[in-house]
Amino acid sequence: MTDPGSVGGGGPALESFASAEVADLATTQSDERQRKPRSLWGDAWHQLRRKPMFAISAVIILVVVLMAAFPSLFTARPADYNNLDFASQPPSASAWFGYSFQGYDIWARAVHGARATLLVGFFATLLTVLIGSVMGIIAGFYGRLTDAFISRFGDVFAGLPFVLGAIVILTTFNPPGSEPSGTAVLIQVILSISVLSWPVSMRIMRSATIVAKQLDYVKAARALGASTRRIIFRHMLPNTVAPVLVYATIALGAFIAVEATLAYLGIGVRPPVVSWGVMINDGKDYVQTSPHELLFPAGLVTITVLAFVMLGDAVRDALDPKSR
């Protein structure tokens, strides 16, 4: 049983036995920093910069982002550069990743494919986090029936097996035989990922909001007469966004993998649009004869996903003051 009367009214809130001394150490350490004031985000950044894991993942992500933004920096050939004479040739100096069965330069194609892959990852994450956060804040802040409704609604989506759900949604939109435009499929893939994964970020945001609502500084702001908008945007969001940010980083990596899965199944992004998933789909039939056609794009997906997961880990550590 919980007794609201006892909240804050209990014994002295001295930290538990060990943390009392540790907490004091923390204050003494912050005395140290008083000469050069830094915000918590500043501290997190300071912490991040010293992590080799962060440096490695940041470099990988930067390269991939550059590929997506400026493919011409990495290859002079267009995505559809095609020469059947070189079909299935292994990697060489002229084509670092070799040629596909259809004579495409796999390196050139991979560089150009980064764009669609990243677009899906980025926008799916953005949408997921936006929908989830808004829902989570509403559920956590208003509680009661609103919370019950949103939470159960989210459970419905979270309960669907992810791949199955995506197959159902995408085949409904594009029944076999239809020929949707490249952009349309891209948007459909982004939407179906977001619709199926927002409950996760909703739950994260909801619990962060419920915790934040009980915090003393939110109480103090309410006692001052602060509006709901001020409380949410000034007091709650800046302190609840950290866990969602960590989730977003890891999710971005995961969604890149999902894009590849859907394309592999033939229901996601498809030619003429090039993505890493499309390339894996193309290469899957020739694993025996020219494995490089599958291995290189698959390797790229793996490395990129890994980089985002590592980044997420590093960000979480940096944002968690206890891990310092």
Partner: protein
């Protein structure tokens, strides 16, 4: 100290060796915490001792090192970040710091037991209280399941938990704060330790429950002739139960004395200031004599006496020279250059007379 008759010399002399080795002696303990933000000198030469049947109160504010000392004694310090630079923890004269892990393990529980402030996190939530007490008896004493259960009930009885037979099956969350603290005391007594370290055992409890727990600890200690180290920040609790006090400040013992003597006339300005800054139930006044400033950062302890920036008595010498922790008449010690003067001038200490308080009210 007891005396024996020395036939050879034909006189009474202090009883030698065996009895003069204290139950536990901490000698010149030095501990650092090494973190990314620098080296915090947490313990800077801490020495104290406690005898069987004696209650030593270790008094200090957070960050003074009182809990770290206890954790070093128990060997439960997190290393890293902690590094033990030197010193000895002598249990019956045997240095535990250089003892083998197996021996330390044995001393823990059978020799020295510890209870914590937060009983809820010290008890495992997924096992019943009875099981957790009984487990120790089974593993360490080799008792059978039934015997251990009986032992657990007896222990719960001992710590005055009503209906022990039924409560033995309860989980920690089913207990109230006071009951949990009792259960933890029962657990610590399971192996019949010679010394109990209680780290802020009543800080999280309400006053009426605190009084019950302190009574319990005192009674158990008397019955078993156990040594008790009571770590606290509460001068009131100290005054009611302690035999001797060691006052800690910035990782040092600054004063150590018999409880009556210390409250009658402190021999260190920090102790004096603490006593004067305390609101009291039996005295009323408007302004307290607050200690100015903050405790020092342990990464940058000031040179000289660590208390000098906050000390009303500080002179140039205090800025440069670290005062020795030196003996004073009446079996007490102080780390202040002016300890003698303080005792001679007979400062009011715990007896701030009403007139001086009335004046300070007028001043403000």
């Amino acid at each position: 100290m007891s005396t024996v008759y020395d036939g050879e010399r034909g006189e009474f002399v202090a009883e030698p060796a065996a009895d003069t080795v204290p139950l536990l002696a901490v000698k010149d303990l030095r501990v650092e915490f090494r973190t990314n933000d620098g080296v915090a000198k947490v313990l800077n030469g801490v020495s104290y001792h406690v005898d069987a049947g004696e209650t030593l109160a270790v008094l200090g504010e957070s960050g003074s090192g009182k809990s770290v000392t206890a954790q070093t004694i128990m060997g439960i310090l997190d290393m890293p970040p902690a590094v033990v630079l030197g010193g000895e923890v002598l249990f019956h004269g045997e240095d535990l710091l250089s003892a083998k892990p197996a021996r330390r393990m044995q001393v823990r529980g059978e020799g020295i037991a510890m209870i914590f402030q937060d009983a809820l996190s010290a008890l495992n939530p997924v096992f019943t209280v009875g099981f957790q007490i009984a487990e120790q008896l089974r593993v360490r004493r080799g008792l059978s399941r039934a015997e251990a259960r009986k032992g657990a009930i007896d222990l719960l009885d001992l710590v005055r938990i009503p209906h022990a037979k039924q409560r033995v099956r309860s989980y920690p969350h089913e207990f109230s704060g006071g009951m949990r603290q009792r259960a933890m005391i029962a657990m610590s007594l399971a192996l019949d330790p010679e010394l109990l370290i209680a780290d802020e055992p009543t800080t999280a409890l309400d006053v009426t429950v605190q009084a019950q727990i302190m009574d319990l600890l005192r009674d158990i200690q008397r019955e078993r002739d156990m040594g008790l180290i009571l770590i606290t920040h509460d001068l009131g609790v100290v005054a009611e139960v302690a035999d001797r006090i060691a006052v800690m400040y910035a990782g040092r013992i600054v004063e150590q004395a018999d409880v009556y003597a210390l409250f009658r006339g402190p021999a260190h300005p920090y102790t004096e200031a603490l006593l004067q800054s305390l609101p009291r139930l039996d005295l009323k006044g408007q302004d307290l004599k607050a200690i100015k400033g903050l405790p020092p950062s342990l990464t940058r302890i000031p040179p000289g006496c660590p208390f000098h920036p906050r000390c009303p008595r500080a002179v140039d010498r205090c800025h440069q020279e670290v005062p020795d922790f030196h003996p004073l008449p009446g079996d007490r010690h102080s780390a202040c250059h002016f300890a003698h003067e303080m005792l001679v001038s007979g400062y009011p200490g715990s007896n701030p007379d009403k007139h001086s308080r009335g004046l300070s009210r007028g001043d403000a």
